[in-house]
Every structure is written in C-alpha cells, then in structure tokens.
Symmetry: C3
Subunit: 424 residues, 3 copies
Amino acid sequence: MTTAGEQMHALVERLYPLCRSITGDGVRATLEIIDEYIPLQVHEVPTGTQVLDWTVPQEWNIRDAYVADTAGNRVVDFAASSLHVLGYSVPVSATMPLAELREHLHTLPDHPTWVPYRTSYYTPQWGFCLAQETLDALPDGEYEVRIDSTLADGHLTYAEHVIPGQVPDEVIVSCHVCHPSLANDNLAGIAVATFLAQALAKTTPWYTYRFLFAPGTIGAITWLARNAERVEHVKHGLVLACAGDPGQLTYKQSRRGDAEIDRVTQHVLRASERPHRVTEFTPYGYDERQFCSPGFNLGVGSLSRTPYAGYPEYHTSADNVGFVSPQAMADTLAVCNETFAVLDRNRRYRNLSPYGEPQLGRRGLYDSLGGRSDAKQAQMAMLWVLNLSDGEHSLLDVTERSGLPFDTVAAAADALHGAGLIKA
Amino acid sequence: MTTAGEQMHALVERLYPLCRSITGDGVRATLEIIDEYIPLQVHEVPTGTQVLDWTVPQEWNIRDAYVADTAGNRVVDFAASSLHVLGYSVPVSATMPLAELREHLHTLPDHPTWVPYRTSYYTPQWGFCLAQETLDALPDGEYEVRIDSTLADGHLTYAEHVIPGQVPDEVIVSCHVCHPSLANDNLAGIAVATFLAQALAKTTPWYTYRFLFAPGTIGAITWLARNAERVEHVKHGLVLACAGDPGQLTYKQSRRGDAEIDRVTQHVLRASERPHRVTEFTPYGYDERQFCSPGFNLGVGSLSRTPYAGYPEYHTSADNVGFVSPQAMADTLAVCNETFAVLDRNRRYRNLSPYGEPQLGRRGLYDSLGGRSDAKQAQMAMLWVLNLSDGEHSLLDVTERSGLPFDTVAAAADALHGAGLIKA
Amino acid sequence: MTTAGEQMHALVERLYPLCRSITGDGVRATLEIIDEYIPLQVHEVPTGTQVLDWTVPQEWNIRDAYVADTAGNRVVDFAASSLHVLGYSVPVSATMPLAELREHLHTLPDHPTWVPYRTSYYTPQWGFCLAQETLDALPDGEYEVRIDSTLADGHLTYAEHVIPGQVPDEVIVSCHVCHPSLANDNLAGIAVATFLAQALAKTTPWYTYRFLFAPGTIGAITWLARNAERVEHVKHGLVLACAGDPGQLTYKQSRRGDAEIDRVTQHVLRASERPHRVTEFTPYGYDERQFCSPGFNLGVGSLSRTPYAGYPEYHTSADNVGFVSPQAMADTLAVCNETFAVLDRNRRYRNLSPYGEPQLGRRGLYDSLGGRSDAKQAQMAMLWVLNLSDGEHSLLDVTERSGLPFDTVAAAADALHGAGLIKA
C-alpha cells in the first residue's frame, strides 16, 4: 500500500525523462501515461490552425542531438537529458570551431553545475544548453554539432478529462504539459491534477469538472479558441503549477481578485492554518494569463507551492525528481480536495420564512429547553443560515460572518433545506 | 430628591419579585406598574392566533409550587423565588423518590449556591430549579412535588407607549418583559426604557417614538405580525437589555451594519469617550433577532452593558437587584438620551446656493474682519454644512468629516436654514 | 545663467512691494509684470456685476496712509509696507487721541515685532496694522490719521493664460493675486504658476491648460459665474498657494477625494519619495473652496508647502521675501511638472485583442528566447497594459497595480498603440 503522495511521485518519475515541448511525440507519450490513471480525450489540432491571435506552429520532434569533440566524444548529449537541446531547435549538422559554437550555447554562470532550460518556439534557431563547468572544460578546437530534429506540419496535442456534474456549470483545472525534464514545473502539477481527478470522480459533484492537460500558452489559447461556447459555462478554475517543491503554498488570485475561487481557496488555506501566501494577479506566470485575459476574465486562480521563478532551481536541471516530494504533493492535493469540497457546496439560499425567525422547535430542529447560554454550534449555524439566506449571501459568506466551520454551516443548510425552510 | 438612577433602581426592586413569563398575570402586573410611570396601551392576543410562522401559545399562570420532604418541609419553594419553577411547567401533584425527581431538577454545578433560570415554553414538561448545594443536602427518600399551575387558552400580553413626532417615521425601542426574577435581564432594560420615554415625552421630537414592552421572541413576532403596515414606517430602533450591570456599554450593530442607528450610536459612544465595545450583528441575543430577520432587515441595533451570556450571573439567581446599580442604569440612560438627541436632529440638507460659497457676510453669518487665521468653529461648521449639503450627506456625516461636535454642526444647520440657504 | 528657482525668486521680489487687494491698480500692476513672462488675457468686470451669490464690489485704490504724531513724524507709514493699512480702508483724515485711535489699530501681541495683515472688504471701516512694540512705544496724545484711499465704482481685474491642447477638456491652475506684501502667500504660488505655464507651453499637451490669476474668493466666483459653459470642460485642476516656504509639500485633496488629480498628485509625491503630507478636503483655505462647492464639485486639489495658517509667519510681515527660497519654489515646480506630465498621458485604453494574449513576438515586441526568468520591465509593462486595458483602468491604475514606473507603462502603451493592439 503506497500513499497518494508516493503514487504521485512515482508518476513524476515515469514522466521525467520524456522530452516534452509545445508539440510533438513527447506530449503524446506523456498523455498516454496519464491516461493509465484517468481516461483522457486527446485532441490533435493541425499546424496552421488559427487560434485567437495565434497560429498553431509546426510540430517539433527530436531523435538525437549532441556536441562531439574531434575524437567523437559527446561532450553535450541529448540522450543524457532532454534539457541539453534548445527547445524547437532547427536541425543542424556541422563542424565548427568553439568560438562559433559558443553563440549557440546557453549556460548558467551563477550555477556552474546546472543546465538551463531554454526554448525558441517562434524564432527558428538552434542551440544547446549545458553546465557552465562543462563549457569551461572544453578545449578550443573544432566540434561536431548535430541536432536530428524535425520541424514540420503536424499537430498540437492536448487532452481533456471531464467529470460530469449535476449542472452544466464548469470548473476547469488546468496544467501545462510542455516542459521537458523539469519535475516541479510541471510534472508535480500534472500528478496532482491527475489524482485530484481520481478523487473527484468518486463523488457526484455539483459542478462539471474539466481537467485540461495542454502545452503552456498556445495550448490554453487553442482550447479557448475551440471552445468559445463552452467558456461561458466555466464559472471557476484553477491552474496547477510548481506543486511539489518544499516551499509553502501560494495562491495567486484571479484577475477579478474577488472571484468565488479566490475566496474559497483563501478560506480553505486560512482555515487549515497552514502557512501560506496569497498574491494578487499579475499577467505573468502560467495559463491563468490566458483565462484571465480581459476578454475572458474568468474566475481562474493559480495554486503553487513556491511560485514561478521564485526558487533558484526554476527552469534548470536542478528541478529534478529529488526536488519534489511525496509529502509536498500530498499537501497540495489535500488543499485542492478541500477547496473543491467547499466550492462544490457553496450555494446561495433563500429563506422561505424570512419574516421573523421560523419556529425551529416544532420542526425538531431546536433544543427545547430554553434559558441556557450554551447554544449549540449546529443551532447557531441554522440561525446564521436563516438570517443570511437572502439570495445574496453564500454559505461561505455565512461561514466567514459566523466564524463557524464551513462543514457545520453546510450541514445546517442541508437540515433547513430538508425542512423546507430554505431553497437554493 | 432622588436621582433618575435611584428611581430606576427602585422600579427594578418593585418588579423583581413578580413571576413573569411569555404570558400570564406576571406580565400584566409588570405592565401595570410601568403604567404608573408612562401611560401604556396594553394588547391582549388570544391563544391560537397565528403570528408569522408561530402560534400564540396557551397562557401560563402559577399560584404555588414546591418540593416537600416527608415531614412536610418545603425544600424547594416557588414562594421564595419565581426562579425555582421551570417556566411553563405543566401542573403536577405527586410523590416520588429522589432518584425519579432528579430528572426534573436543574442546578448549576459550577455555581453551587445559585439557582438557574430555565423554561420549556413549547415542550410540555415540569421541573424545578435549585442550588446544587440544596440538592446535595437532600437525603434519599420520597418527596412530594406540587406545581399549582394552569396552562390554558388565554392571551399573550404586551404593551406600547407612543410619543408622537413631527413625522410618521418611527423609532422603536423594545425590551423584553418575559423574564422572572432577573434584575439585569431585563428589569434594568425595562427601567431604562421607561425613563427614556419620560425624557423624550418632554421634547417635541422629529420622529414618532414607539416603546414596546413585550415577551421575548413571541412578543416581537406578535407585534410584527399585527403591524405589517406600520413596519415600513420603522426607520430606526434599539433593543434594550442587560442595561444595569457593572460592565462597560456594548453596542451590537443591526444586521445592516451601517444603518443610521448604528452610525449614531457608535458616534455618541466614541464622542463621549466612554470605554465601550461595538460588536457585529449575530442572529442570537434578544428581539433584534426578529427585527433584523432578512424579510424585515430593520435598522435596529441593541444596547447592553455586558451582553447576553457574557457574565456568570446571567440567567441565575445571582442576577439580583444587587447586581444592577443606579449608576450603571443612569449611564445607559444618558447614552440613550444622547443617541436619540443626535438621531432626531440628523437630517440631510440641500444647499440652495450650491455654486460657489454664498456670501455669508451680508447675511450676518460671517465675521467681517478678514485675514485672521482663527476661523471660529461656528463659521467652520457653516462652511462644512454648506459644502456637504448635497442631499447625500447627513449632519452626522458632516460631523464626522469635519471633526466638529454634532451640536455645533446642528446649530450651524439651524442658522443656515433660518437664512434660507439650505432646505431639509 | 540663473536657475528657474532663482528666476522665480526674482519675480517674487519684483511683485513684493505692490499693494494688491481684491480690486485696484495693485492687481493690474502685478498682472503686467506676469505678462512679461507669459502672455495674459486681462479681464475687467464692472462694480455691481452679479456673480453667483455675490456682487462685484467697488474698486479700492490707495495712494498714501499714515499715522503721524503732533511733530509730524509718521509713526505708521503705508509707504514702508502695504501691510500697514487695513485692506479696503475707507478714506479718513482726522486728528484723535491715542485712546480713540486704538480701536482702529491691529497688532500681534504674541509676535511684537511683526505687522499683521488684515482686511475688511465688505464692511466699511478703516484701520492700521502695526507691530505691537511700535504701539507700545506710542505716547498718549493726539495723532493725525490719514488714509488717502478711494472706494468707488470701477472694476475687478483678473487674468487668464491658456495653453491649447489636443482636446477641449481643460486643466485649470489657479492662484490668488489679492494679497499685498506677503511672499509665500501668494507670490510664490504666482511665480510657480508662471514658470509652470512656461514649461507646459514648450510641450504639445493633451489637455488644454488654463492658468487663472485672480483675487481670492470673489475672483474665482467671478470666473465661475462668467464661464458657466466652460466649467463642464474643466476635468482637473490645482490651486497653488504657499508654494515657497521651507516646509514639506502638502497636497489637499479635492472634495471628491478620489478625483484623478488626487490620485495623480499623490502618486507623483509617493513615487518621488519626497517627504510630504496629504490632507482631506476641508471647505476652508483658498479657491478650491469655490471650485469644490457642491454645485461644481470639480476635481480640483490644492498644492502647498506648509498649508494655510500652518506657520507662524502666515498673514504677517514675517512672510517676506526671505521666507521663501529658490530651492523650495523649484521643488514645488518640479512636482507640478511631474504631476501634469503623468496626468497628461494618463488615459484608458481598450485592448483590441482581448481574448487571450496577442502574440507579441511576431510583432517584434517580445524577446524571442523563452524559458528565462528575467522578463524585462518593458515586456511586463506591455502584458500589464494589455491585461488591464478594458476601458476601465487608466495607465495610472496599471502603474499602481504593477508597481512599474509610470513612464515605463506609458511607453509600453505607446508601443502597443503603435502596433494597433490597443486604442484610446
């Protein structure tokens, strides 16, 4: 018996070696593995398709890439790590002196043992990423460079997993699948999303939950372009990224700042007494950038541990499987589960007996012995729900005004609803 | 010559022995005594009358009640204190062993010398309340129990005292009259309301003031049910309870939170520099629960000293006439008087010369010698009233923005109104 | 080469000796000197003209005034300082004992060497202002008093300087010109306004800027009365007063409190990291009283160093040319320049590609190499402008939400506008 944390970490380990990019077979292989956990509907969108202001690019695939010295030793080798090649590198096969080669090499001088992650999706070029200390050790001389890649018309691949709810209103959970061998960014997010979907599938949720596994930016833009009519059903959403590092949880608000997902997530984090951070929306980060563009302005926040670019290992080879832990992923998953548990029950009711208090006693909802000062929480919760059920206050509002636990408030609402005293 | 505080305390002492409940002769006797101070209009509502979601219950009267040992000694005796019998006890006449009797006995183990206050209005049962030490001293054996009460069709009794104002808009001052021998809860509130009515009757108030002396919950609900058309005239209100204990004053906001009564009372408390507390609305406490139910949502706050259940003596025999003081009741009364003095003058004016400042000098309203830096408060008040008299700002708004005393602002408004520069 | 601060101080020195009042030749001489710096349109409004609630008073001119002892020595002499005569004194020529004369003498007992500034515009009287120590030294006896003044039908004089903008919406900059020999109040304000106009004239501003040089109160009222149709074009404004003393800058908000001028000025002061103070509107001070009367309620704030009546030298002979410094006036001018630079570029844009992010890369607006964490400020500014350009957020809003400098945000908006991605 392994824990969910351990299972998520095992998934990260399986996905880690694959060379993902915004298109190509690495994404397909990734989705095939996720499909073993939750059934996916995979979409293939042809190169050249207009999606909002963008065009689906050519598909990139790579088989091999290296820099070799004159003795034939591979001094930089794609086979060792998918990070070694500049993402979307055009093919190259040449011999050149180190001085010329240098213009195509990317390193991190401040972290000489780490390999950086770099891409050039929309400007055709080629390059290698390597450790500064590797570069420093290279003697001058001629080098053979070879990138066996294909950049050709093909498809952009993304996948959906939908858990039908009682209403067509949707919650979208999105994570990007375009990063190569980087564990926290975003294999941990993918793993948490996958296990969150498994957990939700065991319930009969109110909302319809849509999980989106798509390449960053262009994937979200493609989904938005192809689902114009569905977007209006998306009431809430969460982008999952950097979900497994040792830092405390960070919730980044939607552009609206006071969307229901913002209030629910912040409530859950606060009520759980976890150390955490809440940050305002910024138009940088992950696919909340697209969901929260002003034309859509969806109620989509983002949950991370240490957020985007906030840790030195970010976008380097040091973001490896050891950087993310079962415990951290389990903690992120727990907050997601709690958040959606609250969101899913958070409704506005209307008191059907709003003039004065209804007599709870004759309905068996009130302790019969008066005069005591220890009004029970459950009774207080009923009085609060009745008092604030004016169609404007949600159960979360009641929770926050009353200081009672959300579960107590929701149970009181269920009891009152059962007695016909409130309606949704 | 006695002070108002002493007179209020004397009233509390007279009312203390009576056995009040939500119906019955104890309430009638209470109202007869209050009527000696301020003329009351007494209403009798028959048992069975539908009032909102409730039904007027049977009338309860009690003549005697005791527990006697086999020697005939009354070990618990209603004649000693009206608290000794469970309110609304059904009649009983029986002999039973202590073990069986115990199920009908209520004590306060944490305060072994105090007698608790308990009721069972809507579930037929009988019981006695006694000190834990009394119970502990009872030897096993047979006891005679007798409650000579009547629970029969009759009436619910409440009373009103109205001070007509210049406008039909009403201020309601409400206090509950259903508690038996408990001084702070609510004989002190009754006494303060009575003397507040006496003071207001000496003025010619702007608003019509309606004082309501009614049993808690069912009384307010009955009044609301029978005055549906009048409720829309109720612009402001105050529930008085726990008005005589040694604690500092506590103002509990209306459900609205920013109703005019909320702002006025808080202003008066702050400006008076009394230590005090302001709490948000909760749907528990006294009859603000009914006035602030979502269907009515009236601007009704509640003024107490130590609020509901906030002191150990609450709902026990320790809430006796020694627990309340003339000084505390006089202090509560003073704040009520100040609050209604401000509320009654707090109007929105419209500047009839709103383009630039009107020339106050030629109207004799402005000091003729210019250049000095010591603009007088009265002149500043006139400039503030003129500047903010746009139909949106009340004199209280002017007071708070300007930092001037309300009386100075109101006097400036009177002067400007006299000069025809503003209209209400 | 002198600095702007020195040039402003030289202007203050030239204007200082003139005897200004709310009407008369002192105002005309003042405007003639200003006209040497910026061309003025001078308006003459006849005595008796109705202006809002007021009437243009008679014109006051004075040639000489003194108190002389029996030996003919002038013990108080208008020729020494224009402050020595009560403003708007009616003519007098008489001999009287000191006891009788005392009723017409104004001193500052707390500052025995200073001469106060006093006026009586609307109540006919005469008087002299002198140092307490001068008064104390006067022996009893007869004194000759003479005020050679004229109070006769004439005109009220004020002037405008207009810098045309690209839109008819106006910014008004107003300063009072009615005070006699007082340097900080308001020759420094006049000097800053004059040099601000010179600086703005070198630009091609968006707004039309109207500089108003007018006597306090009656001048602003006269302008408002004569420009009823123009007032609706006045979108923003600033009253300049007390602009040269050694104190820190003080911004007094418009009556609205959140007008654009309020937000811009506060932003500039905060961003500049100058020590400064912001105060809420009060209906006292300078001509913001008229612009912010409730009928107009214009977005007009007031910029001072130490504000009205906040320094002991206020309205005394100690407010002389030594009390104001080139450095202080240059600092006030710099903040005005920065404020109007921001205000003038602060527009609301609409993102023309609001669904998702537009692809900046193919428009040459985005760094092509992905994966790095050091997103440049200019790129962040573009993302912020795109995200918040929904027609509701101004560039100042973008600046404050993003924490980026206003100039960076405005430059990003220019770039996006140039690329056709946003429109104003």
